[in-house]
Symmetry: C2
């Protein structure tokens, strides 16, 4: 593992996006979104994926110069065509449309087709915070998750993020995959060859398994809850809602037809839509009550929960967003840790594009 | 257990609501909402609660003749004061406001303060279906749930319902408490003196417990996920979002200050808001794409998931809403089963209000 400063990684990542043909503006935006994952401690979704985005571009599945278009709109909604652009670029632009609509009529809701993976949901939802709005963001993803009772992978880890502004307290930011564990957590266990807890994965027969490599042999991730007795039908339902809002409202692919992130995985056949889908929402606080009043009560809520009595062995009750904010403070100061295989990946990108940038 | 026809229970329930002073219109509406729970097989939220609503009225915590007012609005939002009315009446009226706003500007979002328990979330969300809209409904509830790492009960079972129209297929209706198990499930185990599965409840020290009576001695329900390793921080975050949308946007009570349903439980002190809070949303399908197109893809989604290969021992993959719709078909034909203690409750209501109605 090596440590890089945010600026080092920023300059390198931006030069890679410029190399594949992104405009100056889009390369900056894509880099900002990508690295927000590394800053916030979500290492699976940051610089580690840079080479993956490049491979999607090489496979002609990402358009580096998309023309992002509104296909249909009302005062509070829009359907957006991402023109096969990087999700890292399409998503913040679509979220901005939601925010602009909220400025006009109180809330804005945007469903996006024809996009690609968009980094962490948190970045886009949090765009609303500085406008005194609540931000909502979801996306579907390639199928790794079996619905309750099934052995087929029909849903992605389909995350939901809700970002809510507070006053003196930092914002509340819940960013969660609708599975027991996100795929990134499984990848960590795979690298360490450690067992997964019961309730994370099943094998190809649908039996509970602790083998983190199970997905390679037909297994699946499990919806939040793990099994029926522990509420997996709820995780499945939430993942399904994300899929439907992101893709059936917009005209993207859904369920088992969502395109894979790894460029070497062939595309599904008989795809019913275009690309992957996202869904964004922005709600102006003062469309409901004065923002200062709301924030005072949010502070009270956060203070009450943060000071709640803990069970023995636990130091404090965590407010959603705390761990990521603390990671960001630390990493901005001490740098961002990058695993050796990812460093090697970046070096080969530097070589491929003949970048003088050292990594 | 005895079986009653829907009409028998309807006439009786309506006469009780009339007896506490509801208008003809409100008594009909409250009864329709209340009994939708019994029809859909959610016995914990239906006629079994009728005497509980009456006790709240006796304790002057429910106003039988509320003046429901819009406190603040924009083209796509409203904040509603329920005037301490029955949630069974306040909620469908607030949902209607959301639907009307969606007709005008594409979507409508309504946060409600000063209300009471509203029956099942499903009824209100499903009001959107006949308008070719997606319906969303949530409510906070009195604190029974401990956030991850805590031993304090700070959240209710805070349900989320999302109802989505389809074409030939029946609608998708996900209606879920943000806990591993709803309180109604625990009540069933209490009556049978059976053990609860691990992951549903904890004791007052925050240790996992299988005793369904644990809540009486300081224990708590657990957020969906059960423990940190299985994603309880996600269930906690979802329950928190429901609390904030329902109560901090509207000015209702939140967290540990939400008033209890049983009238004999004293009210919390230093309450920061008014009554309990709800949140409603309606999104017009054709604000995103033509409704017929959407419904064709929803049918495709539902058919694909319903026909997914099952694990051994399971007959089929369930689409959210299937079990409740099947219960309704059966109960409309064969009648609604009512447990003997509930029958006794209804008999004493008949006596109290001198109702000639036989139950």
């Amino acid at each position: 593992m090596r440590f890089y400063s945010y600026d080092q990684l920023f300059n390198f990542s931006k030069s890679v996006f410029l190399s594949i043909g992104c405009s100056e503006e889009d390369a900056t935006l894509a880099t900002t979104v990508l690295l927000s994952a590394d800053l916030r401690g979500v290492d699976s979704h940051g610089i580690a994926r840079l080479s993956g985005y490049v491979r999607l571009w090489e496979a002609k599945r990402v358009n580096a110069t998309p023309e992002i278009k509104i296909l249909h709109e009302t005062p509070s909604t829009a359907t957006v065509d991402g023109d096969s652009g990087l999700g890292l670029v399409v998503a913040p632009k679509a979220m901005q449309i939601a925010i602009d609509k909220a400025k006009n009529v109180g809330t804005g809701w945007v469903s996006v087709q024809n996009s690609n993976h968009f980094g962490i949901a948190g970045y886009h939802a949090m765009m609303a915070l500085k406008e005194d709005m609540i931000g909502i963001c979801m996306t579907n993803a390639s199928p790794l998750v079996a619905p309750t009772f099934s052995i087929e992978r029909l849903l992605g880890t389909n995350p939901i993020c809700v970002a809510i502004p507070a006053g003196q307290q930092p914002a509340f930011v819940a960013d969660l995959a609708t599975t027991t564990a996100a795929n990134g957590k499984l990848e960590i266990l795979q690298r360490k060859s450690e067992e997964a807890p019961i309730g994370w994965i099943q094998n190809k027969e649908g039996k509970s398994s602790t083998d983190p490599h199970e997905l390679k042999s037909g297994g699946a991730l499990l919806p939040l809850g793990g099994d029926r007795e522990h509420g997996s039908h709820k995780g499945y339902a939430l993942g399904a809602v994300v899929d439907i809002f992101s893709a059936i409202l917009s005209g993207a692919n859904y369920g088992p037809w969502v395109p894979p992130f790894p460029a070497y995985v062939p595309m599904p056949t008989n795809m019913p839509g275009k690309g992957i889908g996202h869904f964004f929402g922005a709600m102006r606080i003062d469309a409901f009550r004065p923002a200062e009043e709301f924030k005072r009560h949010m502070d009270n809520w956060i203070e009450r929960f943060r000071s709640a009595k803990t069970a023995e062995g636990f130091e404090r009750v965590i407010i959603p967003g705390d761990p990521e904010r603390e990671a960001e403070a630390e990493r901005r100061e001490k740098g961002i840790p990058v695993l050796e295989p990812v460093v090697a990946d970046l070096k080969s990108l530097a070589q491929k594009f003949n970048l003088s940038m050292t990594v």
